[in-house]
Every structure is written in structure tokens, then in C-alpha cells.
Amino acid sequence: MALDNITIQKKLQATFGEAVVDFHEQHGMLVFEVSHEKAHDIIQFLKEDEEMGFNFLTDVCGVNYAEEVESRQLAVVYHLHNWFENVRVRIKTYLSIKNPVVDTVSDLYKSANWQERETYDFYGITFKGHPQLKRILNVDTMESFPLRKEHPMEDAGRTDKDDRFFGRTVHNC
């Protein structure tokens, strides 16, 4: 039986109940939100359950939703891929900006190792249980987390370039 989005949704809801919410499809891909306490277990289930079989972790990245309430300002986005059925899912878990901690999945997929380090490097999200959580692309002595929205792209003292004309958003135009 081909694995479809409805099957995945039903099985996840039956197994994890309230920890998986907000199922919807975007451009044909199933997207859902998981609670950060359960993120590791759910990804493990998706990987190890025979019917689910998400054997490949495509991508891990962070997002900073600066307009959200404090407990949902950071997010970790996982893209999983089942190569046998060719199904992809996107999993989001929201974290508080004050204390962003989520369990690592590098024990399940080794490819998560550097991707989580990158996410830590740019968003300051701590991956609990990660074997080597240190900065990867930026210098070790860096103090801020540069992809957070609060971090200006360029030195605020610069007068030769006005970023408003390039970075205009719906909120300031």
C-alpha cells in the first residue's frame, strides 16, 4: 500500500495524540508541528516504524519567527524523506527564545550532526545530547547568533547603505 499523507497523519495522531498538531499540506508536502519534548521520539518513530520508513534526513534548519509570542519565536524545521515510497514530510517544532532546547537527532541520523551545529551557530538553539555542539561556520569567540532577526545585517553605523530600501517588509512599507 502506498504511503500517503492521510495514513501518516492518522498513525501519528493515534500514537502521539496531542504532541502532533496542525497538519496541513503545502505544495503537496505534509507539514505538521510537534512539541519539542516529543520531537526526538516522533522522528525516531518515523524512522523506525516499518510502515513509515523515513530513512533519510534531508535537512535541519532553524527559523526565527520574531513576531510570534515568546514561547514560539524559534523553530527547528526537519525535512524527512522516505525513499521507498518517495514521500517527504516537514516537521516543525517551536521553541522559546529564552531557553531554546530540543533533543538532538544526531543519534538517529549522523547527517544531523553538522546541521544541528549550524543551527546552534546561527540561532543559538541547544541540541541536548549532541556530541559536539560548538560553532561551525562562525568563529568560536562570536557572542551573538547572527541569523536571529534582532541581529542587524550590517553595522548600524554605516551611512553609505540604507538597508530599509532593500529589507522592506510588510510591516514597514
Binding site: 508536502m29 525535512h79 525513499w83 568563529v139 529589507g167 522592506r168
Partner: protein, 411 residues
């Protein structure tokens, strides 16, 4: 605190001391890179050696990190194309096209069949150019410079095709939302035809120089191998994964840009070592040539861009004479184009594996978040476990056989 968090030289200093006390062996640390003639890019690896044997290693990356994801959050969509050029700079047109396809998917633009075929042609040419570099550089690293000089002339010819199509050679900035910026000239088609007629003989000769060459085989067979399970676990995609025997290719798994119209094979290896990677890439070049031939033969009639005045710049003559065209021109240049609120992940098969763009838009003219899934970044983390317990000279050839491109590694 875990030992792994220490800088590698401190960690290794301890190991050296322990080993010396244990049996008197003197291990040594070698700092390979950040720039080193044998590494073809900015790679620093701090390696712990026992004689010539690699005991352990740790890579430091980020020397050419340019914060593309941050810049992308502050630039309108058309200005992000030049950032994608600089990811895998050996095959920029693939990155460019991947970016346009991501934007077009977000905006819901239908692309004419002819444009899709032209994109396939240019992407496959870029794949050939990328594989030429990787395969011939593997020859250089085993001491055979001849093949490298011989086929590099044909990489040059591909660059001449780029130049004819978009005016640039390395960082191509090719295409626009909806198609190409101009019609391909008869000269461009002629150059492609010339390439297709001349290159096969050259490539066959290059292969005969190395593929069954005793020295080359001894240097690469059984070196830098990785099993299929490990490769999948480490997130390998592209030729490096297929060399391990897994036939995953985005062009077939989730076809984009009309790849389903073409008949081609996915070459796979068995042992995932340097030799298999070399053979898989060489076979892929032949498949790419097949695809380009089919695309030229089947090329439908039609325009060279989609009819999307909201996103595609009007002809310059019209801008000077026609009010509507002037308004569109101004709005597009200022980035004031209608953008839906959406998020999507779009993968393509780049020369090194699955290149993905994860785009979140919020209706403004810049992406809210743009993340690049760079195949090299994910593949390179396996490097130290692959070269462990091998010889130092094998570590060098493993690096070039993985075809890690520093631009894609650091983004």
C-alpha cells in the same frame, strides 16, 4: 565537558602524550590547510598522524562563509540569484535554475515546455563541466596531469556556451523568473552542437587514459570507501551515494523541469570507494550527453520565457515608449512584485547531490527565511570517518573524489 568540544590540537596533545607513555610511539599533528595546493579549496584539516597513517582528524570549515542566508533575507528575489552562483561555483547554472524553479513554484508560475528543455540543456552542460573538474583532478592527485589538461579545454568550451547565453563564465547569474533573459543566439546553438560532436571522442580518450590504468586503479580501488547504510545515514546524495550502490537521483525520484521526458540511466557503483565515484561520474557524463541530445532533438517551439508581466522585465524599448512597461519595469526592479505567503522546499539534482532551497515568504518582497540544503556541507562531515586509519595520501584523493566545493560547504 566532552573532549570533542576542545580545539583539536589540545585534544590531540593529550592523545600524543598517552600514546608516548604507552609504547613510545611519537604521533604528530599535521595542519593541512586552510590553503594547500593539494586540497583545491579552502579546507583546513587538523590531522593526527602515526607516520603516514591517519589516526584522527577534525575539519574546520567556514573560511569563506559569506552569510548568504542572512543577505537573502534582505534582498528581493531576483537579487538572490547572484548568491546562488557562488554556492557550487563549478556548476552555477544548476544553482541558478534551482533558485528560479523554487521562486516559480512559490509564485505558481507555469513554465513553457521550451524553457524547461533549454534549462535541462544548460543544467546538463553544467553537470558535465562539474564532473570534468572532479574526474580530471582525481587524475592530478594520483600524478596524471595529462588528462586534466586535455579535458579542461572542453570545460572552457562549456564556459563559452555560458558566455554566449548569459554573458558570464563562472558566476553566471543565468535566467530570470519565468525563463531566460534573452533568446539563445544561433551561435550558442552552434557551440552546443560543436561540443556534442567533439566532446565524446575526447571523453572516451580521457577514460581510456585512467579507467583501466594500473597505477590509477591501485591508488583508488578500496580507498575512501563508504557502505550504502553509512552513506544514507550521513546524508549522502548524488554521485557519492550512487557510487555506494543506491540509485537515488532527484531527477528520477521527483522529476522537475520535464526530466521525465528524457530517457537516461542512473549509473551506480558497488563499493562506494574513490574508483567507483570516478566511474559513476564518468558514466553520468555520457548520460548527460544523451539528455542534451534528446532535449535538442525534441525542443518544442515556443517563447524563451513565461508570459508573466508581473515578474518578467519588459523589453527595454517598451520601457522608454510605453507607460505600462515603465511601471512594470520600475516595480520589478524595486522588488514590488506580488508574493504569496507560503513555504516550500524544492530539491534538484545538482552535480554533487540534492541541492534544496527551503523558502519561507511572508508576502513582502524579500524571503522571510531562505535555507540552502547544500549537498557538500552534509557530505563533508563524513570525511574524517572515511579517511581514518588510511594513509595521508589517500586522504587527499578521497577529498577530491568526494568533490567537495568550498563555496557550497560554507555558503
Amino acid at each position: 565537558m566532552s573532549d570533542l568540544l576542545l580545539p583539536p590540537e589540545e585534544r590531540y596533545a593529550k592523545l600524543i602524550e598517552e600514546k608516548f607513555k604507552q609504547d613510545g610511539t611519537e604521533l604528530q599533528i599535521l595542519n593541512l590547510g586552510p590553503t594547500h595546493p593539494a586540497t583545491h579549496g579552502i579546507f583546513q584539516n587538523i590531522i593526527l598522524l602515526d607516520g603516514e597513517k591517519v589516526i584522527d582528524g577534525e575539519g574546520t570549515i567556514g573560511y569563506i562563509h559569506r552569510a548568504f542566508e542572512k543577505i537573502a533575507e534582505n534582498r528581493p528575489f531576483y537579487q538572490i540569484n547572484v548568491l546562488t552562483d557562488r554556492l557550487n561555483y563549478c556548476s552555477s547554472p544548476i544553482n541558478n535554475t534551482a533558485w528560479w524553479m523554487t521562486v516559480e513554484k512559490a509564485l505558481g508560475i507555469e513554465i513553457p515546455k521550451r524553457v524547461q528543455y533549454m534549462r535541462v540543456i544548460i543544467m546538463e552542460l553544467a553537470r558535465i563541466a562539474d564532473h570534468i573538474i572532479c574526474s580530471s583532478v582525481m587524475g592530478v592527485d594520483t600524478g596524471a596531469l595529462t588528462g586534466f589538461l586535455y579535458v579542461f579545454q572542453y570545460r572552457e568550451k562549456i564556459y563559452e556556451i555560458y558566455e554566449e547565453i548569459c554573458g558570464a563564465r563562472l558566476t553566471t547569474n543565468m535566467g530570470r523568473i519565468g525563463g531566460f533573459e534573452r533568446e539563445w543566439s544561433p551561435k550558442a546553438w552552434q557551440l552546443i552542437e560543436e561540443f556534442l560532436s567533439e566532446f565524446p571522442a575526447i571523453w572516451a580518450e580521457f577514460e581510456s587514459l585512467l579507467t583501466r590504468n594500473r597505477i590509477f586503479m591501485d591508488r583508488t580501488i578500496g580507498i575512501g570507501g563508504i557502505s550504502a547504510e553509512e552513506a544514507i545515514n550521513y546524508g549522502f546524495t548524488g554521485p557519492n551515494l550512487r557510487a555506494a550502490g543506491v540509485d537515488y537521483d532527484v531527477r528520477v525520484a521527483t522529476p522537475y523541469c520535464s526530466y521525465e521526458d528524457f530517457d537516461f540511466e542512473i549509473p551506480v557503483g558497488t563499493s562506494g570507494d574513490c574508483y567507483d565515484r570516478f566511474c559513476v561520474r564518468n558514466a553520468e557524463v555520457w548520460e548527460s550527453l544523451k539528455i542534451i541530445r534528446q532535449a535538442i532533438d525534441k525542443l518544442p517551439e515556443g517563447p524563451y520565457h513565461a508570459d508573466v508581466p508581473d515578474y518578467y522585465l519588459p523589453p527595454k524599448e517598451d520601457v522608454y515608449t510605453n507607460m505600462e512597461a515603465l511601471i512594470y519595469h520600475f516595480k520589478i526592479i524595486m522588488g514590488e512584485v506580488p508574493v504569496p505567503v507560503t513555504e516550500l522546499y524544492h530539491p534538484v539534482e545538482a552535480a554533487n547531490g540534492e541541492l534544496g532551497f527551503f523558502l519561507i515568504t511572508d508576502g513582502s518582497r524579500t524571503p522571510y527565511r531562505l535555507h540552502f540544503r547544500r549537498p557538500c556541507f552534509i557530505i563533508y562531515q563524513a570525511y574524517n570517518s572515511i579517511v581514518k586509519d588510511g594513509m595521508l595520501s589517500d586522504a587527499i584523493i578521497t577529498l577530491s573524489s568526494l568533490n567537495i566545493i568550498a563555496g557550497e560547504l560554507d555558503a
